[in-house]
């Protein structure tokens, strides 16, 4: 059972490098491989320092395989291997399972053949789960989350606009949700507020992609927030600056975004000592 305050406590980060294959493209256009690798490299560096995580790198696979977040939902000592909407991506699960088991997590897999679930449709707030019902994730997929994490309320949130739930929102701090300003984002936020017993703070950012950030606690009791760089979204920097006592770490993610990912997509964050 997660104690409140467990949010953002991680010990390990699982990442995957991009394949050295030129000409990769995503829905957002062709990838600038060098730039993408540079951005990922910076991101991985941030995970190591200042976040202080042990980084486990998986061997490269398909370009979109860098979006590890889609493949597993992690909470406490339990990992739910998802059933990604794209069948091709299900092949990536094996390596993920292996590394998660190695990290001594209880690994559960979605068994329902009718379920689709992308990890980036799952928002864990520290108190409960919201699962975006999107073109990637269906109701049965959400049920699998509920079945796996029974301690928590699992609410479904309709996601419009063709993205994932976390393509415009994430936890910016305990009990604070960063949220983009598009209509889809506002709708989802409203639904989440309606569905929750907890009053979450709302950190609105003008740009949807900037709503996806990464909150982590630091060893010394501080916390850090990895957010999209001001070069990418100058408007969205200011709201983050309002967060008290939080180290802001800007990171660029424009190339991965072309694959449909966001900051949080690029790593699976694990806490191997949930009890501690």
């Amino acid at each position: 059972m997660a104690a409140p305050g467990a949010l953002g406590r991680y010990s390990h980060a699982v990442v995957r490098a991009l394949p050295e294959v030129p000409g990769a493209a995503g829905p957002g256009g062709p990838l600038d491989l060098a730039k993408a690798q540079r951005q990922l490299g910076v991101f991985t560096g941030i995970l190591r320092q200042p976040l202080g995580l042990q980084v486990v790198a998986l061997p490269p696979a398909a370009p979109c395989a860098v979006l590890l977040e889609d493949l597993a939902v992690l909470q406490g000592d339990t990992a739910l291997l998802t059933r990604p909407w794209e069948p091709a991506r299900r092949d990536e699960l094996g390596s993920v399972r292996a590394v998660l088991e190695e990290l001594r997590l209880r690994v559960v897999a979605v068994t329902d053949e009718g379920a689709t679930l992308d990890g980036s449709d799952v928002l864990f707030t520290g108190r409960e789960f919201f699962v975006g019902i999107s073109r990637w994730t269906n109701h049965r997929g959400a049920e699998m989350v509920a079945d796996t994490f029974r301690d928590f309320a699992v609410s479904t949130v309709p996601v419009g606009g063709g993205g994932h739930l976390k393509s415009f929102c994430s936890m910016a701090a305990p009990d604070t949700i960063a949220i983009g300003s598009s209509e889809a984002a506002r709708h989802a936020m409203k639904a989440m507020e309606q569905l929750s017993d907890h009053g979450y703070g709302r950190l609105s950012v003008p740009d949807d992609p900037a709503g996806n950030c990464l909150f982590a606690r630091l060893g010394a009791g501080g916390c850090a927030l990895v957010h999209r760089s001001p070069e990418e979204f100058p408007q969205s920097l200011q709201p983050f600056q309002k967060l008290p006592g939080c180290t802001l770490v800007p990171a660029s993610c424009s190339e991965v975004a072309k694959l449909g990912g966001a900051l949080s997509s690029c790593a699976l964050l694990v806490n191997t000592r949930p009890e501690a």
């Binding site: 059972m1 406490g76 000592d77 339990t78 209880r106 409960e128 699962v131 109701h139 959400a142 049920e143 509920a146 079945d147 796996t148 994490f149 029974r150 301690d151 928590f152 309320a153 699992v154 609410s155 479904t156 949130v157 309709p158 709708h187 409203k190 639904a191 309606q194 569905l195 929750s196 017993d197 949930p274």
Partner: protein
């Protein structure tokens, strides 16, 4: 002492009943009165009252009476022996007063004594009934009144009045008896327990007892014999006593209709009538899961909560993850077995425990592993840790009910402390917090919630669910009412009263609310009771380690009330009722709820005795709209102020009254123009441009009692009807407040208003057909809806604000509010309007008031359903309408009329003074069931200035529950909004109030 308060009510009720000589009514009566009433009535019990004897304090008596209930006599006897009872009461009452100081210490003992008594312990009645009867018969009825006085004075603490002398005498008498009893008591102690079965033999009339079995949370069975006609409370109290449980309000007794249909035993009703032919088999369970168990006062309460949760978890009702199963299991082991002992606790020591529905070896290993880490935790600490973890589970305290949504999809409705949760499979797909829910109702197998409009939405929406059957719907409804009351209200809501036949459940939660029980348990002052945890047989230790505190005497004296035997409970109920009334009446009167209800007690009794117990098909609304906890007195006062400010503003012709925050909030959704209405407003404006010079608007708001109309209307109607019915049900109290005497309230709360037909007749005037005004009509209707909605809203928020009203005993009220708006534009553009003047219409002040069910305003229904959930929009034809049943008697209606005119000082009188040339006059009438709006537009040319006057007359025929000030304010606001370029020059409020006969019943 508060305990006496309980008995006091009984006294009054007794006397009233006696007066009415309705012996047969008593069972029904009983449902409203505390259990001990019954027992007191039974003369044999008096003799039995052993526990009260040794230390004749109030604490002991209610408790002991509880025990005696099972043996209580048949009801008939009580009729003959009221005085005896009174004496008993007066004795207990006066005793503490006279000897309060002396008794202080003794009382303390008494409390503990009474608490520790075992339920089985029953004294044997030695004294014969006859003896008692003869002794007391001579005092009989004369005494009753004295009793009342003394009792009430005792409660409120002021000096006793005339009754005092008598009382003293009685005390003396009682003391003699007391001695007698004391002797008996000792005897009994020697002889030990005597079986219940013996009692009937000694009493002149036989008491039929039934054996009840109650499965307790630790799996053991408690059985006792209980009088066949006993109410639920009696059994429940017995069980709690057996368990030594003081914080019992979180618990309840369940009986099962079949394997999964569980019903809570209603403490206020006879057991027999609830279980019908089912076996007398119950389970003791947690009914309200405290959101924060650490706030429970006693470890023993937490222990029972733990037991319940262990059951819930093991049975799968409370889902947990693997880790949580293991963690909770380990705390269970720690609590029940103590520290892990490798020698004693070999590998299979946990086999006997079930931690999860499907427990695995792996889980057990994890449990043991975690158990080892809890070394040093006391059982109580382990329980606390258990609860701290369990309470965070998302399904903690959620009572699930199977249902289907409007599309027939299987869902679950979960009732919890915070509101209503909707699940599909395991996923939460919607949630309605209590503050968002305006009304809960059920009809047949349908369950409805009416929710507040969301932001940017104008109207409330109603969401319907289909339950498997009628009983399931009712069960869910009851659970909702109970949870809402327990967790959200300060004190229980008074059950709706009906004077005549009323269909529909009048069920209300009558126990203590969480707030009350917390308050009460703060006063618990006993050493932590010893109890055994099932497996370990360990003794619970209190966490605070200092079980015995010295409490001050005043607290102590209050204690019984707060802690509450049945008498205490009743006190609080009444208090609650009183408060509810107060809310309506004098809102400023904040404090001392205990004293205030005094006056109303009589009323309560009366109404109760006459009340028809309708345990039947159709549901009335639970007045959940009272969800105004967040609204403080201040708000209400502010509201008042804002209304008077509005008036003042108007008088001073300030262009736009600035509603304060509160009002903004309240009015906001209503005042947002619906697309349609704005369009219609446009029309009007256009028209005005033709005239261009000015116009005047008059709004007349009139109200009559509408209660009756609903009877005629059929199901399936319009929203409008629903509004009305809502008014009927929820807002009657406002009437009473207007009548400003505490007495009136009782009558006003009744649902039945037989008179309005007559009034309508009076009001009715022939209707003029309107040719071209369909669209305007629509517009008018819109306005009316606004007005109506406002009235309704005001009702919800502020039940009564009729400070202006002075009428007493008004059953029917008519209010007419006339707002005259006038604006003069000295523009030169007269030419246009001359050409385009409309055909003249006959002037008409009053439109047709015939109360035909017009299908107005289907557009008022808008769906505010949140994106996720399939909801059903229901046009509510609702139960409320049906609940009103008219009687045949048509009483003579006296009416009182009152007209208040507000005129703007700006009003220069030129319009009225100068005849001018009438260019056009037009009357538009629209109507709905409750309102008739007549808009009269005249265009005049005076001295080269064209002037348009709009006179709007709104007749609201309503239940008198409409907040007139509110309606007026709204009407003015409305008028201003619609014609921003005009000014309101005159407001006439004409109120016609029906003077009701003293008492219909």
């Amino acid at each position: 002492m508060t305990t006496e308060v309980g008995s006091e009510t009984e006294v009054k009720k007794d006397s009233e009943q006696a007066g009415a000589d309705k012996a047969k009514d008593k069972p029904e009566e009983a449902s409203d009165t505390p259990e001990n009433q019954k027992s007191r009535k039974a003369s044999s019990e008096e003799a039995l009252d052993s526990s009260s004897v040794p230390v004749p304090t109030s604490q002991s008596s209610p408790r002991s009476q509880k025990k005696e209930k099972d043996s209580s006599e048949s009801k008939g006897i009580s009729r003959f022996l009221p005085p005896w009872l009174k004496k008993q009461k007066s004795y207990t009452l006066s005793e503490p007063k006279d000897e309060a100081k002396k008794k202080a210490v003794g009382e303390d003992q008494a409390i503990e004594e009474s608490e520790c008594q075992l339920p089985g312990e029953v004294a044997q009645p030695k004294r014969s009934l006859e003896e008692a009867a003869t002794e007391n018969q001579h005092n009989a009825k004369a005494d009753e009144k004295e009793e009342k006085h003394s009792v009430s004075s005792a409660e409120t603490q002021p000096a006793k009045e005339d009754g005092k002398e008598m009382e003293v005498e009685k005390v003396a008498e009682e003391k003699e008896k007391q001695v007698e009893k004391e002797k008996r008591e000792t005897k009994e102690v020697q002889t030990g327990e005597i079986k219940m079965e013996n009692i009937p033999q000694k009493s002149p009339k036989k008491i039929k007892t039934v054996q009840c079995k109650v499965v307790l949370l630790d799996g053991t069975e408690y059985s006792c014999d209980i009088e066949k006609r006993a109410k639920g409370q009696l059994l429940f109290d017995r069980v709690c006593e057996h368990l030594n449980l003081l914080e019992k309000d979180y618990f309840g007794l369940l009986f099962y209709e079949n394997s999964d249909q569980k019903n809570w035993l209603d403490p206020s009703k006879e057991i027999k009538r609830q279980i019908r032919s089912l076996p007398w088999l119950f389970t003791f369970n947690v009914k309200f899961y405290p959101p924060d168990p650490s706030q429970l006062t006693e470890d023993i309460t937490r222990y029972f909560l733990c037991l319940q949760l262990r059951q819930d978890i093991a049975s799968g009702r409370l889902p947990c993850s693997f880790v949580t199963h293991a963690l909770l299991g380990s705390y269970t082991l720690q609590a029940e077995l103590g520290d892990h002992d490798p020698e004693e606790h070999c590998s299979d020591y946990i086999n006997e425990f079930q931690f999860a529905p499907n427990q695995t070896q792996e889980m057990e290993e994890k449990v043991v592993e975690l158990h080892k880490t809890h070394r040093g935790l006391t059982p109580a600490q382990a329980d606390s840790q258990f609860l701290e973890n369990a309470k965070r589970l998302s399904m903690y305290g959620v009572d699930l009910h199977h249902a289907k949504d409007s599309e027939g999809v299987d869902i679950m409705l979960g009732v919890c402390a915070n509101g209503l949760l909707i699940y599909k499979d395991r996923l939460r797909i919607n949630r309605f917090a209590w503050p968002k829910i305006l009304k809960i109702s059920y009809k047949r197998s349908n369950f409805y919630i009416k929710v507040r409009p969301a932001e940017l939405e104008q109207f409330e929406s109603t969401i319907g669910f289909k339950l498997p059957n009628h009983r399931a719907a009712k069960r869910l409804w009851k659970v909702c009412v109970e949870h809402h009351t327990f967790f959200r209200l300060i004190s229980p809501e008074q059950p709706p009263k009906a004077k005549f036949l009323t269909l529909g459940s009048k069920f209300r939660y009558s126990g203590r609310t969480q707030a009350q029980t917390q308050q009460a348990s703060n006063l618990i002052d006993r050493p932590a009771p010893y109890f055994e945890r099932t497996s370990s047989k360990r003794i619970s230790r209190s966490l605070d380690g200092a079980p015995i505190r010295i409490s001050d005497q005043s607290l102590l004296r209050d204690f019984p009330t707060a802690r509450g035997g049945p008498a205490g409970d009743k006190v609080i109920d009444i208090e609650g009722a009183g408060q509810a009334k107060l809310k309506e009446g004098s809102r400023e009167e904040n404090g001392s709820p205990v004293k205030t209800p005094q006056l109303e007690l009589i009323q309560d009794g009366k109404s109760n005795s006459l009340r028809v117990d309708g345990e039947n098909i159709y549901v009335r609304h639970s007045n959940l709209m009272l969800e105004d906890l967040d609204k403080t007195q201040d708000d209400l006062l502010k509201h008042q102020a804002s209304i008077s400010e509005l008036k003042r503003n108007f008088m001073e012709s300030t262009p736009e009254p600035r509603p304060n925050e509160w009002e903004k909030r309240r009015i906001a959704p209503l005042s947002l123009p619906a697309p349609g209405s704005s369009h219609e407003t446009l029309d009007i404006v256009e028209e005005k441009k033709q005239a261009e010079v000015g116009r005047e608007e008059t709004v007349v708001i009139d109200e009559t009692n509408k209660g009756k109309m609903q009877v005629a209307t059929d199901a399936g109607e319009t929203c409008k009807v629903e509004h009305l019915s809502k008014k009927d049900s929820s807002s009657l109290p406002s009437d009473s407040s207007s009548s400003s005497s505490s007495e009136s309230e009782d009558e006003e709360v009744g649902e039945y208003h037989p008179h309005h037909r007559a009034i309508e007749e009076v009001i009715r005037e022939e209707q003029e057909e309107e040719d071209d005004t369909n669209r305007k009509k629509e517009h008018e209707e819109k306005i009316m809806q606004h007005v109506e909605a406002t009235a309704e809203g005001s009702k919800l928020n502020v039940p009564a604000e009729h400070t202006a009203k002075v009428t007493a005993e008004s059953l029917v009220q008519e209010n007419a509010v006339t707002i005259a708006t006038e604006e003069k534009n000295f523009s030169e553009e007269m030419k246009q309007d001359l050409g385009e003047e409309k055909e003249e219409e006959q002037l008409r002040l009053n439109g047709d008031v015939s109360h035909v069910d017009i299908d107005v305003a289907p557009q008022i229904i808008c769906c505010s359903e949140p994106p996720v959930v399939k909801t059903e929009m229901v046009t509510i034809s609702d139960a409320a309408q049906r609940t009103e049943i008219s009687t045949k008697e048509v009483p003579i209606v006296q009416t009182e009329t009152k007209t208040i005119t507000y005129e703007s000082p700006q009003f220069d009188g030129s319009t009225s003074g100068n005849a001018g040339v009438l260019l056009s006059a037009q009357t538009i009438t629209s109507e709905s069931i409750s309102t008739t709006t007549t808009t009269h537009i005249t265009k005049m040319v005076k001295g080269g200035v064209s002037e348009t006057r709009i006179e709007k007359r709104i007749v609201i025929t309503g239940d008198a529950d409409i907040d007139h000030d509110e309606a007026l304010a709204q009407a003015i606001k409305e008028a201003k909004e619609q014609h921003p370029d005009m000014s309101v020059t005159r407001v006439v409020v004409h109120k016609e109030t029906e003077l009701a006969e003293e008492d219909e019943e």
